[in-house]
Symmetry: C2
Subunit: 185 residues, 2 copies
Amino acid sequence: MDIVEFFQQSTGKWSSLRTSHNMAVKQQEGGRSDIVIEMLDQTDPEVIKLCELYKVDPTSALCGVRVTWNGTMEWDQEKHSGSTVLVPLTDPAAPNEGQLLREVGYAKKAPVSGRYLMNGEELTLTTESESMSSKERFWFESPNVRLRHSILKRSGGFSMTSFCSEIRMGVANPPEKAADQATTM
Amino acid sequence: MDIVEFFQQSTGKWSSLRTSHNMAVKQQEGGRSDIVIEMLDQTDPEVIKLCELYKVDPTSALCGVRVTWNGTMEWDQEKHSGSTVLVPLTDPAAPNEGQLLREVGYAKKAPVSGRYLMNGEELTLTTESESMSSKERFWFESPNVRLRHSILKRSGGFSMTSFCSEIRMGVANPPEKAADQATTM
C-alpha cells in the first residue's frame, strides 16, 4: 500500500476513542472524538497554499488530506475541535517515504514538516525539532477499524503516549459486544 | 532481534499503564499494574511441565518466560493478579516465527497455544480458537520503555483493543514531565 492508498482508505467519518498515557506522572486520560478525513486534489487551493508556505513546488504533492476533529477529553469535558491539512511529497529516491507537510503540527499549533514512511500496510509519521520529537503509527485492522499509536519525546525523555481505536461511522454491521474478560496483565 | 533476545530485554520489573477500549459500546477503562518478567531455562521444571502438557519435546523449547502481574482496573478497584509461563518453540522452517505455548491464555484462563512472529524489532503473538482470536504487538521505544497493543476479535467482530505503556522500574533517569499539550485529534 502506498501513502495515497492509505489516505484513500482513511477517508470518511470515524468515531475515535483516545487515551493518553502520561508516562512521567503515571496518569492516563481518556477522550472521544468524531473525525472526518477528506482527500484533496493536488490542485486544491489549500494544497497549493501549504506548498507555497514551505516553498515547495506544488507538482511534487502526491495528494492532500483534510482532517477535522471534534471531541471531548476527560480532564475538562470541553469541546476540542480543529482541522489540519496534510500533504505528502514525492521522493524520487525512495518510493515509500518522503516529506510530509502539515498545516498544524501534532504537538505544536504551527506549521511543521515531518517525514512519512509506509512499511507494508502501516504508516509512520515523524516530526523532529530541537526540543521534541513525535512518532505516530497508523494501521487498519479491517477496512472499517483503524488504530493509531503516538509517542511524544522531549530532550531524550519519553513524555506521553497516545492510543486511538477508530471505527468507521455508519457501518451496517457494528462490532459485536465485547465478550470474555481478557487478562489484566 | 530474535524472540529469546526480545524476552531477555523484557526481563525485570515494569510499571504498566493499561487502557482497554470496548469498541462496541465505545467505552474505555484504565488500569495500572506492576509486571515482573523472568527468564526460565529450557531445563526449568515449569518449562518441561508446559511442554509435556502440550505433548511437545522439551528440547524444542527456545527458552521459558514467567510473567507475573499485580494491578488494579478502574471498574472495580480490586486487585487483579496472576502469572503465566510462555514457551516459544523452534521452527526449523522459519527462524523468526513458531508456536508459543502459554500456561494461561490472553483471553481465556486455560492453556492455549498460539504463534509468535518477530518482525524486525517487533514481536507479534496470535492465538486463534473457534470463537475468538487475539493479536498482541510488543515493541521497545527504548531499552526501558516497552509498548504493547492487543486486539480481541470474536466471530468476525472487533470487540476490544488494549494498549499498555510500560516503564522499567528503578531506572536512574525517569522520563521528564510531560510538556506541551498535544492536539486532541
